[in-house]
C-alpha cells in the first residue's frame, strides 16, 4: 500500500535538546527552510530525563538573550559537595581538589524536560512544525542508497498485527536532509550506524543507566542551589557509577543514580542499587519527611570520543546522543547535544545553499569546543576499568595535572552486552525490602512515570530468538532482564512447573537498557504506537 508523502527541506527525528537546537539554528540562518520535528512522546519533554546541571555555553550562542526570553534556567549552583560513601560513613572530598570539569559554580540546576518545552516554543515561534505523538518508525532510502526520509508509525494495529477500525496509516516524510536526534540508542540511529558502518575503526559504544527521582522535601532539608555527587557504596570497586543530588527550586530535590552498563554481575539490579543508596545516612537525612513525586530512568552514552561514530552519511546526520556527544567526566550532555545540533544546522544550511557535502559536519565538529571538551575527557571513563580507586587516581593525574592532555588514548575494549559473567561465578546480592517511605518497589515507581501503551497493540520489544531467555539466559545469567529493566517489563514466571518469559511491554519507559545490555543482543526495541511511553513532568 502506498503511503501519503509530505515533503520538507529538513526532517528532524526527536524533539530533545539536539534536535530542537538544530531546528532553531537552521531557522535563524534561513527562515525559508521548511523544517519538521517528529517526537514519539505525547508532548515535547515527556520522554526527557536528565539530572540536570546545565552549562549555558551552547544556549548562550543560540539565544544570547535567553534570560529575557524567560528560559527555564533559573537556579544557579551555589554550593558543591563530593562524597565518597562507605556503608555507613561518608568522606567529603574538598571541592578545590576536584578536576575543573567537575566544578559547577557557573552552571544552573534545571529540568531538561522544561528546557525542551521552552526550546520547542521558541522553535514553533520561528516556524518549525513540531509533531508530538508521531514516532518515526522506519528509514526511507533513495534508489542510490542515500537517506530519503522517514515513515511514521501506523496507528491502530492490534496485538496480532491486524488493522483495527481506528487504523490510520503512517506517512512518509521526505527531506533533503534528515537529522536523527533520538537520543541514546535511537532505534533508527542504530540501524544507520550498522548500515553505513559508521562505527568502523571506533571503540564499541559504552552506556550507562540513569535512574532519577524527584522529591519534595521540608524547607529545613532543602538548600536551593546545592549540587552533590557521590561515589562508592552501594557499588563495589569494580562497578562504575555514582549518584547526583541537585537541590532545585520549589523545595524539590533531583536525586539520581548512574551505573555503567559494563557491570559484570548479572545479579546486580540498578533499580535496587538506587533504592538502597537512599538509605545511606548522608542521603536519607535530606529525604526524611519528604515525598517522592516522580520516578524515571533512561540509558545514557558514556563512550565519548573513542566510540563516537561518523556523524554524517548520504542524506542524513546524527546529532546529540544518537551519535554520543555526552561528556562523561563532566556528567553533562545537554550543552554538547545542543551544540552538535547547531553545527548540524550550519552544515545543512551550507549544504542546501552552496551544495557543500554533508561531510563538512565532521570538520566543523572537530573545530568546535565540543570536540575539544570530548578530547580532554576521553581517558576518564576507560580508566575506571581498573576499578574505582585506580580510576580516581588516574583521573586526578589526567584531569588536574595534565588537563586531559596526556599523549595517549585509552581504549574501550568490550561492548556492554559482553561484560556479564556467568551467574554462578558471581556473588548473589540480597537487596533489602522497600519500606515505602524512602525506598520503593518497581511497581509503585513505574506508576509515577505515567507510562502507558494502548492495550491492544503489538509488543514493541522484539525477541530475535523467543526461546533464548528460557533456553539459555536462565541457566547462564539467571535472566538478567528481570533486574536490569528499571520498569519491571521482563518477568520469568512459573506456570505448571514450566518457566515462561513474560514481557509487560505496557510498563516500558523507553530507557533502551534492554536493547543495550541483553547478553546476546536478543532484544530489539522498536517504536510503539505514538504517544505511548512515560509522561514525565519536570524530569
Amino acid at each position: 500500500m502506498s503511503r501519503e508523502v509530505m515533503e520538507y527541506d529538513v526532517v528532524i527525528v526527536g524533539g530533545g535538546p539536539s534536535g530542537l537546537s538544530a531546528a532553531i539554528k537552521l531557522k535563524q540562518l534561513n527562515s525559508e527552510i521548511n523544517i519538521c520535528v517528529l517526537e514519539k512522546a505525547s508532548e515535547i519533554g515527556a520522554h526527557i530525563l536528565s539530572g540536570n546541571v546545565f552549562e549555558t555555553k551552547a544556549l548562550d550562542e543560540l539565544f544570547p538573550n535567553w534570560k529575557e526570553l524567560n528560559a527555564p534556567v533559573k537556579t544557579k549552583v551555589t554550593k558543591e559537595k563530593f562524597l565518597f560513601l562507605g556503608k555507613n560513613k561518608a568522606l567529603s572530598w574538598p571541592t578545590w581538589l576536584l578536576p575543573k570539569v567537575q566544578k559547577n559554580h557557573n552552571n544552573y540546576i534545571i529540568s531538561l524536560a522544561n528546557m525542551c518545552r521552552w526550546l520547542a516554543e521558541q522553535a514553533e515561534g520561528l516556524g518549525v512544525e513540531i509533531f508530538p505523538g508521531f514516532p518515526a518508525s522506519e528509514i526511507i532510502y533513495n534508489d542510490d542508497g542515500s537517506v530519503k526520509g522517514v515513515a511514521t508509525q501506523d496507528m491502530g494495529i492490534d496485538k496480532q498485527g491486524n488493522k483495527k477500525d481506528s487504523f490510520e496509516s503512517g506517512i512518509e516524510l521526505h527531506a533533503k536532509v534528515t537529522v536523527f536526534a533520538e537520543g541514546c540508542r535511537g532505534h533508527l540511529g542504530k540501524q544507520l550506524i550498522s548500515k553505513f558502518d559508521l562505527s568502523k575503526g571506533k571503540d564499541p559504544q559504552q552506556y550507562g543507566i540513569g535512574l532519577k527521582e524527584i522529591w519534595e522535601v521540608n524547607e529545613k532539608q532543602h538548600d536551593e542551589g546545592l549540587v552533590m555527587h557521590t561515589a562508592g557504596w552501594p557499588l563495589d570497586n569494580q562497578t562504575y557509577g555514582g549518584s547526583f543530588m541537585y537541590h532545585a527550586e520549589n523545595k524539590q530535590i533531583f536525586l539520581g543514580y548512574v551505573i555503567g552498563l559494563d557491570y559484570k554481575n548479572p545479579h546486580l539490579s540498578p533499580f535496587d542499587e538506587f533504592q538502597r543508596f537512599k538509605t545511606h545516612p548522608s542521603i536519607k537525612k535530606y529525604l526524611d519527611g519528604g515525598k517522592r513525586i516522580s520516578y524515571g530512568a533512561r540509558a545514557l552514552i558514556e563512550g565519548g570520543l573513542q566510540s563516537l561514530p561518523q556523524m554524517y552519511m548520504p542524506g542524513a546526520l546524527l546529532v546529540g546522543c544518537d551519535a554520543g556527544t555526552l561528556n562523561m567526566p563532566k556528567i553533562k550532555g545537554s550543552h554538547t547535544a545542543m551544540k552538535s545540533g547547531m553545527i548540524a544546522a550550519e552544515t545543512i544550511f551550507e549544504h542546501l545553499k552552496d551544495k557543500k557535502p554533508l561531510s563538512i559536519y565532521e570538520d566543523k565538529f572537530k573545530n568546535s569546543w565540543v570536540y575539544e571538551e570530548l578530547y580532554a575527557a576521553r581517558n576518564v571513563k576507560p580508566s575506571f576499568n581498573w576499578g574505582l580507586i585506580l580510576g580516581i587516581i588516574f583521573t586526578g593525574i589526567d584531569q588536574i595535572l595534565f588537563r586531559g592532555k596526556l599523549p595517549f588514548t585509552l581504549k574501550h575494549k568490550n561492548a556492554d552486552h559482553e561484560a556479564l559473567l556467568p551467574a554462578d561465578k558471581m556473588p548473589k546480592i540480597e537487596y533489602p525490602k522497600p519500606d515505602n517511605i524512602i525506598t520503593f518497589d518497581k511497581t509503585s515507581s513505574v506508576y509515577l512515570t505515567g507510562t502507558n501503551h494502548t492495550e491492544n497493540q503489538p509488543v514493541h520489544l522484539h525477541l530475535k530468538n523467543p526461546d533464548l531467555p528460557i533456553s539459555f539466559n536462565i541457566d547462564k545469567y539467571d535472566e538478567p532482564a528481570q533486574r536490569y529493566c528499571p520498569a519491571g517489563v521482563y518477568e520469568v514466571q512459573k506456570e505448571n512447573e514450566i518457566l515462561k518469559f513474560v514481557i509487560n511491554s505496557q510498563n516500558c519507559i523507553h530507557c533502551k537498557t534492554c536493547d543495550i545490555k541483553e547478553p546476546s543482543q536478543n532484544i530489539n526495541w522498536v517504536t510503539p504506537e505514538g504517544g505511548g511511553g512515560p509522561k514525565y513532568g519536570n524530569m
Binding site: M6, E43, S111, E129, G156, K164, G537, N538
Partner: protein, 249 residues
Amino acid sequence: MKILVAVKRVIDYNVQIRVKEDNSGIVTDNVKMSTNPPDDNAIEEAVKIKESGKATEIVAITIGDDKAQETVRKALAVGADRGIHVKADGIIEPLAVSKILKAVVEKEKPDLVFMGKQAIDDDCNQTGQMLAALLNWPQATFASEINVKDKSLEVTREVDEGLETIEVNIPAIVTCDLRLNEPRYASLPNIMKAKKKPIDQMSATDLGVDTKPRIEQIKVEEPPKRKAGIKVANVAELVNKLKNEAKVI
C-alpha cells in the same frame, strides 16, 4: 444539521494527580494535558454523523485559558470544521459553563449539542443537564449508541440497571459515554490542515456571563493511604478483630 461539540482540557488520564503542598488545589504545572476522554467520543460521534451525510457542520467549542485552544485544534484535526475558544481563567463551574454554552447556542443555533458525560478532573457530570434545563431542550445522557432519525434521535443510555433506549426530539443535548465509539487518531496531514481552520475567540464577558465561582473550595486533600494488612492466626482471632476492632460484625 449543525452539531456543536463541547470539549474540555484536563490533566491526562495517565498522569498521577498530585495535591499542592498548601492543599489549595492540584499541581498542574508541567503536567501533560489532553482532551477529556468522553469528549473525544463526542467529537468522534459528530464526525461519524457528518460522514454519514446527516450533518453538515461541526463546531468544536472549549472554555479555558490560552492553552485550552489545543483541545479545539485536536477536535479540528479529527474532523470538526471550525472552533470557538471562550477565554476564561481559573475554575469555571458547570453552571457558568452551561450559561456560556447557552449564549453560544443562541448565536450558533446548532441542532445538536454533544459533550462528554462528565470531565475526569472534577467528575461533576452536570453541564449537559444544566444546559438542557437552561435551553429547555430534551437531553439524552450517558449515550452509548446514537441513531439519527428525521427529527429525533434514538439514544441508548448506559444506566445502572443496564441499557435504556429513549427517543428525543431535535434540538437536543447528548452527553456521551466512553462505550459510544472508538475515537480515531489525528493523522499528521490532518493536524497540518487543522492549523488553517478558523477558531473564533471570545470571552465570557463578551457573552455576558459571570463566571465567578459559586462554590468556595476550602481544601484539597489526598485520599488517606490504605494501611497494610495483617495476618491472623486463626478464625477465632479473625472474628474477634472483626467484632471488636473493625466493628463490622
